[in-house]
Symmetry: C2
Subunit: 158 residues, 2 copies
């Protein structure tokens, strides 16, 4: 389930980025410190019915955006992705889900880093799983948290 307080922000974040919106990616669970996202197979498969590698990458990449509202003040901080690596382990033949979570200690470290030095890197290790709970891909990425600059227009600040 999705906590009411995250409903608008998660939808706005997803809908605000056209290439993500076109994939049909959805947030299926969302609460403090935790989110679970799902990429549908429909519309994301290659010519032999397996989920396209780029759609799997997109699912993983949204972790950095999904963790912001559940672990940070999303009106103060945002994150950009710096690098990512993904390893494809088996054909993705169903909808694929991914969990992302963050501890309060890690969020505190990041917020303190941003307040002191304007930016702070953080790493997320992600598993992308099919409906049988088998891992189809593993991804590791580095994101950088920053303060939202004054006057920066964000879809949820309208």
């Amino acid at each position: 389930m999705i906590d009411d307080k995250y409903l608008k922000i998660t939808k706005t974040m997803l809908d605000g980025v056209e290439p993500i919106r076109k994939t049909g990616l959805d947030v299926v669970e969302c609460r403090d410190w935790y989110a679970r996202l799902r990429m549908p197979l429909k519309g994301n498969s290659n010519h032999i019915g397996i989920m396209y590698a780029g759609s799997l990458f997109t699912l993983g990449e949204t972790a950095g955006g999904a963790v912001i509202p559940v672990a940070f003040d999303y009106n103060k901080y945002f994150a950009i992705v710096k690098d990512a690596k993904i390893r494809f382990k088996r054909p993705a033949m169903s909808d694929i889900t991914m969990e992302v979570n963050m501890s309060k200690e890690e969020a505190d470290r990041i917020v303190n880093g941003v307040e002191e030095k304007e930016k702070c890197d953080f790493v997320l290790e992600l598993e992308l799983k099919d409906i049988n709970n088998d891992v189809v891909a593993v991804m590791s990425g580095t994101w950088q948290a920053r303060k939202i600059p004054p006057g920066m227009k964000l879809p949820w600040t309208d």
Copy 2:
């Protein structure tokens, strides 16, 4: 320009994978041993007008498919991506292009490997560039070439 002999195969390859087709990715040059692909900014930007990381990854990932027709017999061999890493170096604020090429020696190594052992890995190092020729992202991936199994239906074998 695109050599006539590659026109149908490149278009069919791109159109055959729905999530790639939706990005508007295009082949802008294609000849023996070489292809250049372009991801349009339009339709692939995030909420602040920069090309979305997942669209950049998709551009890079298509290198493994694009190299097949220009360097191999595409009715005999195909490639799957095993892993990839991408590093984002600067905001991508225009259409982005990527070149991919392969030497005859490398193609021979791969074909010999597939004929001997059914599969053969190859690595591509890619630079994604904006209209000022500045590198916005670098990507490195491992693909695996395989023989097309008898009876496998491919869009261009219809």
